[in-house]
Amino acid sequence: MSTVTDTIHHENDLHEHHAPPSGIKRWLYTTNHKDIGTLYLWFAFIMFLTGGAMAMVIRAELFQPGLQIVEPNFFNQMTTVHGLIMVFGAVMPAFTGLANWLVPMMIGAPDMALPRMNNWSFWILPFAFLILLSSLFMEGGGPAFGWTFYAPLSTTYSGDSTALFVFSVHIMGISSIMGAINVIVTIFNMRAPGMTWMKMPLFVWTWLITAFLLIAVMPVLAGAVTMVLTDKFFGTSFFDAAGGGDPVMFQHIFWFFGHPEVYIMILPAFGIISQIVPTFARKRLFGYASMVYATASIALLSFIVWAHHMFTTGMPVFAEMFFMLATMLISVPTGVKVFNWVATMWRGSMSFEVPMLFALAFIVLFTIGGLSGLMLAITPVDFQYHDTYFVVAHFHYVLVTGAIFSIMAAVYYWLPKWTGKMFDITLAKWHFWCSLISVNVLFFPMHFVGLAGMPRRIPDYALQFADFNKWISLGGFAFGLSQFIFLALLIKACRKQGDPVSDQVWEGAEGLEWEIPSPAPYHTFETPPVIK
């Protein structure tokens, strides 16, 4: 009934309908995929700076041996909340923001399929992080058991703020699941006529697969935190051997979520790079179909490798062997991706605009992270690498120079389409080169201190690690400062400063989003385009 009245109403006042409410209400009430995308992206950036500030505290404490700045208990809170914020507050919302902006535009849909749920899935996120951050100010401090919250450190031996941690993770999970449902429903139902599955842009494909991973594993995380909650506050013994439980079972449950989670944070990045490289190589992506199949294989394999995070927990040899081999297998489809990007560049006509610079840095540095991941898969050697800075180096290469560089590449690639103006190229190049150099000073020496025997998550270290840690901290401060260049650039872009751009923006860009005007109008594809 209401649908009918709405339609009549809209037909009568078309012009009124197109003017969004102004001020704060526009953002609070919005159901527009572009507005919600913008909200997600700014939220992710604010969280990136917040989590980054915590990393600065960590690096300041580790600048030299001894305890100078923070107490060990607060140091542990910093490593924990840094991890939680970067994973759930920065990387995941940024990808959801990009999906909101781009998926409807790429498949020729007018909006996301479930716009009100879209509004809700964003607006519960700030509250989740307010709860998490406020727990830091509780007496006794916030969560201090690492973002992996292994029991019984997170149960019997944790502070009362654990309840807030559990509640905030629940809200993050609900938000992610709703976002994922929205992406799936949109892609299944709202593709323009002629947009068959194998014509979908790779960013849409990778996000579709990511959304299925999210729906599969976020409930597992919810289960894990709930069990932690009841073990701590209600006397259950899921993870307590004294009551018939098993602390290692926690790790199995956590990593059954945790490993697919890793791919949730990298598959959309693969999609982004697969959009950008062909544009600036002015050549078709070498193997579109094999990219789709590789993404799907990575997603499927991600469910059978979780225990490679747990080689030192005392699993049977057979299990260790299985998880080692399954993990090594993942490098095959991942290799296919990298080879495809290189083959796309091969005999192309390349130019090096800022999105391409970030994409190239992604390919090189993500591959370094991937190769160290292959080394980590080898169980006997993992006994030496496990829980050292070698692991810290590995996952920061795949997450910072992988996921986050891809997000930056995406922002530079689509920003002119969003604002209608070219961003400040000088600032962008400064941002790129400062970030590229400092991020390597920050993370590369971590391989060395890790191999030399420095454990992760320690607030103080033996004297032999002092020199490298000084360099790592300096790289960290420089990388942190470099992000203010990005902030300045984004503020300028949002004020619509810069030269107007064409609809296509980039010479080699292809796809529906480059056929609509720049800036993208508030409503696009109200009548679906026809794909040839």
């Binding site: 041996p65 001894g66 305890l67 100078q68 208990n73 542990n76 201090a144 058991f145 019984p152 450190l153 019997t156 031996y157 502070g159 009362d160 004294a242 602390p247 290692v248 050549k283 579109y288 094999s290 030192t312 927990t313 005392g314 040899v317 062997m321 080692m324 090594m328 297998l329 095959v332 296919v336 990298v338 290189v342 560049m345 091969w346 005999r347 006509s349 390349m350 130019s351 190239l360 090189v364 190769l371 292959l374 080394m375 080898i378 169980t379 006997p380 050697v381 006994f383 030496q384 829980d387 060395f448 191999l451 030399a452 025997g453 992760r456 320690i458 103080d460 270290y461 004297l463 032999q464």
Partner: protein, 374 residues
């Protein structure tokens, strides 16, 4: 027990042979650790070769296939042959990696036929070693002083990697480590043996080493285990079998003497000064990590003892919580960690320090009575 503290200074002074700019894993001192090192290098070299190939092709394109050089884009895409090749070749490389890895793994995990067995128990934040074949057991705590950490004292060469009582094992014998925990998960790591094994509460893991070289080998706890996770070193001394036998004999004699001494102290009453000065030492090594040297604890994490109800009033409850711990919290049971006279001293200290001026004295015989359920 106290006699063993004397040997600590000797280890603290030994020169660290660790390189400031060490880039790579150490080869270690067991056959397994050497195999692990070789495997690591094999993996590393394969990865470097792959990286050089991939990045080489990429940078060749970047240099020569650029628009500014007038490169015209080719139009090729999708080639079944190429795609099969770059799926099959990595697969073959993986098999080359997996075979030696599987061999080493099987050898590592076979802890059968041990000649010496040591039970390693982690607890917040110290290790306990119990020799299963001899009547010897002791705690091993970090020996680095608080002043070195806070910067009031100069840091020694083995800063954070030195303990009061190191684990001693024989060389050239298969030593089996049974690893468990009293509280949270810890991880016992000695890089030179290529052993890193989690200590899970309620479960026992095992690992083994046959050390080829006598020497001092240092490691750390590798699994986040709470506030002082970074201050939980592992030090192992490998001695020639003859020297080891001599050492374990001496240790056994020392522990028997300590037990006799404890029986003697049971009958004695110690003065308040003696109890307080012993108690302070024990408090600082066993209790201060959580309850803090000033007895104020960490608000909402570790309770204060200064002015607490138990420390001021209910003495029976005080003795009970120290002896048996408090389930569902981080408070451990100290009945087996300290001797009766040490327990008496530390409880007396807690009831009389920081303005807790109860005037109560606790003697070893009070502890004995509590332990025997009287």
């Amino acid at each position: 027990m106290l006699g063993a503290f004397n040997c600590s200074t000797a280890f603290a002074d030994s020169v660290s042979d660790l390189d400031q700019y060490q880039l790579n894993m150490r080869k270690g001192v067991t056959d397994i650790s050497a195999e692990v090192y070789d495997l690591h290098m094999l993996m590393f070299i394969i990865c470097v070769v792959i990286a050089v190939g991939v990045f080489g092709a990429m940078f060749y394109s970047i240099l020569f296939h650029r628009k500014s050089r007038g490169a015209k884009p080719a139009n090729f895409h999708e080639s079944v042959k190429v795609e099969i090749a770059w799926t099959v070749i990595p697969f073959i490389i993986l098999i080359v990696m997996a075979i030696p890895a599987a061999k080493t793994l099987i050898a590592m995990e076979d802890a059968s036929e041990p000649e010496v067995t040591v039970l390693v128990t982690g607890s917040q934040w110290k290790w306990h070693y119990k020799y299963m074949d001899n009547d010897v057991e002791f705690y091993s705590r970090m020996a680095t002083q608080a002043g070195e950490i806070s910067g009031k004292l100069d840091k020694g060469v083995n800063y954070l990697l030195e303990v009061d009582q190191p684990l001693v094992i024989p060389t050239d014998k298969r030593v089996r480590f049974l690893i468990t925990s009293d509280d949270v998960i810890h991880s016992w790591w000695v890089p030179d043996f290529a052993i890193k094994q989690d200590a899970n509460p309620g479960f026992i893991n095992d690992a083994w080493a046959k050390v080829n070289e006598p020497g001092i080998y240092r490691g750390q706890c590798a699994e986040l285990c709470g506030k002082d996770h970074g201050f939980m070193p592992v030090v192992v001394i490998a001695k020639e079998p003859a020297e080891y036998d001599k050492w374990i004999g001496e240790r056994q004699a020392i522990q028997e003497q300590a037990k006799a001494e404890e029986q003697r102290l049971l009958a004695m009453n110690m003065s308040k000064e003696e109890l307080m000065s012993n108690g302070q030492k024990i408090y600082n090594s066993a209790c201060a990590a959580c309850h803090m040297p000033n007895g104020e604890g960490l608000p909402a994490v570790f309770p204060a003892l200064k002015g607490s109800d138990i420390a001021l009033n209910d003495m029976a409850a005080h003795i009970d919580i120290v002896l048996n711990g408090k389930s569902g919290t981080a408070m451990a049971a100290f009945a087996k960690q300290l001797t009766m006279s040490e327990l008496a001293a530390v409880i007396t200290y807690e009831r009389n320090a920081w303005g807790n001026d109860t005037g109560d004295l606790v003697q070893a015989k009070d502890i004995n009575a509590a332990l025997n359920g009287q």
